[in-house]
Subunit: 272 residues, 2 copies
């Protein structure tokens, strides 16, 4: 079998998706990652589905022009709004994966009767999780709330302190989440506050499993690539590339929060 | 003198600038306001100066196409990044006002020796306030810090509660602001947390004047229009128009926070 050494295109609205890029590159060190963060339009959480579709569509062309073998939408808002369109347009030549399917596949295998989902307004309003859960396991009750302040809070470095814990507690004490047995972190920023979320439930003496999607998504991607014989040669140590549609020093500084180490951002001014 | 009944174009990156639109329409009830919120790109606070210039430039064309007599950049990030360019391009036919000059003009008349400025990263990084203060009153010491979480916090309805007070206290206790006698609220969202900011200083027993720019800016705009004979006829009760580059139900719902009453947003898809 001939290895496929083309890069994996990983997309996010900003740089939160670097958590997924990191997880993918740790799990599959021979794969080259081409990351694109649409910092010109971030955050997607407040944007309409129509706008998100138009942005994602343009960036998919960028991945295809750069010979990516696979496109991973590492952003829940983008997955919710634009995955069906992207899959329809490109999947015959370029498989498209999203971050919702892996979480749903994982969660429906567990014994939960009631599951919670937190994410941006765009993700929650789309009801993409509700539809996918309803289709995979109709008896599962899904309770979702938008938690729009969490992503900017994390981007500004507010986590593991009294401010972040206050905001997290305020959201999670919402009665709409009462009775959940697990909580899906449906935003690529949230792995950074997983411990604080777990601490909230521990203090409440609630037995709620917090589903950190990062590893689930990387494993799903690997399994997909194995099945479709898309893996790269095992002797490679490729350099990754990290592109953004708008460049600021602040974005550059924040990369290490999400990627675990500083990476060099390249400005690709798709929108001029 | 013939009255000038053309609309005033008021621009913001989102809908926070509705605080200025409100103040202008209350002070000059005969004037028609054409508001444009660039919700497709909001927030500007994290964007580069180059991107902000390109967005603002396109929206200035919209105001000119819609026969506005004056363009008011009711957004500090936009004023900091794009005002000089816009002034250079259009001021001969369409005067352009920004929200930095009125605050600087007001503050230099007071007896302050040290003044603080809080705003977005784009506003603070630009050093536009520092430059303007240095030019108007070189002996005034200016201390500025970026407070990027405040705008999303307010947009999500978090003010006058323990979360907002915790975040505000965290920012204002920054040692970089030590010794200020006044604080300029250099973001159109911040008037909504003026009371909380004042409360922080009262609790600290610090005598810091909090400069709410909204009324200062409206008065500056009125004075400019009087001086240049641009006022509308005094018997008019025009209907205002509120446009956004991206429409979501959430934006629509939030208008009343900033404008004091709900207004109907019209989607003008400049960017498709």
């Amino acid at each position: 079998m001939k290895p496929d050494n083309r890069p994996i295109g990983i997309f996010d609205s900003g740089i939160g998706g670097l958590t997924i890029a990191r997880s993918v590159s740790m799990l599959m060190p021979h794969e080259q990652v081409l990351f694109f963060g649409d910092t010109a339009h971030l955050p997607y959480g407040d944007k309409s589905a129509e706008s998100i579709k138009s942005y994602v569509s343009r960036i998919a062309d960028f991945f295809i022009d750069n010979d990516c073998k696979l496109i991973l939408l590492a952003c829940n808002s983008a997955s919710a709004a634009a995955y069906p369109m992207l899959h329809r347009l490109h999947s015959e030549t370029h498989p498209v994966l999203n971050v919702i399917d892996p979480n749903v596949e994982y969660a429906v295998k567990q014994a939960y009767k009631t599951i919670g989902v937190i994410g941006t307004k765009a993700t929650v309003t789309s009801r993409a999780f509700n539809r996918k859960f309803a289709s995979a396991k109709p008896e599962l009750k899904v309770k979702s709330i938008a938690t729009p302040l969490l992503a900017p809070m994390i981007e500004e470095g507010y986590f593991n302190n009294n401010i972040s814990q206050t905001i997290i507690n305020s959201y999670l004490s919402n009665k709409k989440l009462d009775g959940i047995e697990a909580l899906v972190l449906a935003c690529t920023h949230y792995p950074l506050i997983k411990n604080e979320i777990s601490r909230y439930y521990a203090e409440q003496k609630s037995n709620v499993e917090v589903i950190d999607s990062t590893d689930v998504i990387a494993a799903y991607t690997q399994k997909y690539m194995q099945k479709h014989k898309m893996l790269a040669a095992a002797d490679r140590h490729p350099e990754h590339q990290f592109c953004v549609s708008d460049f600021t020093v602040s974005f550059q500084k924040t990369t290490n929060i999400f990627y675990g180490e500083a990476v060099k951002l390249t400005h690709v001014p798709i929108w001029g």
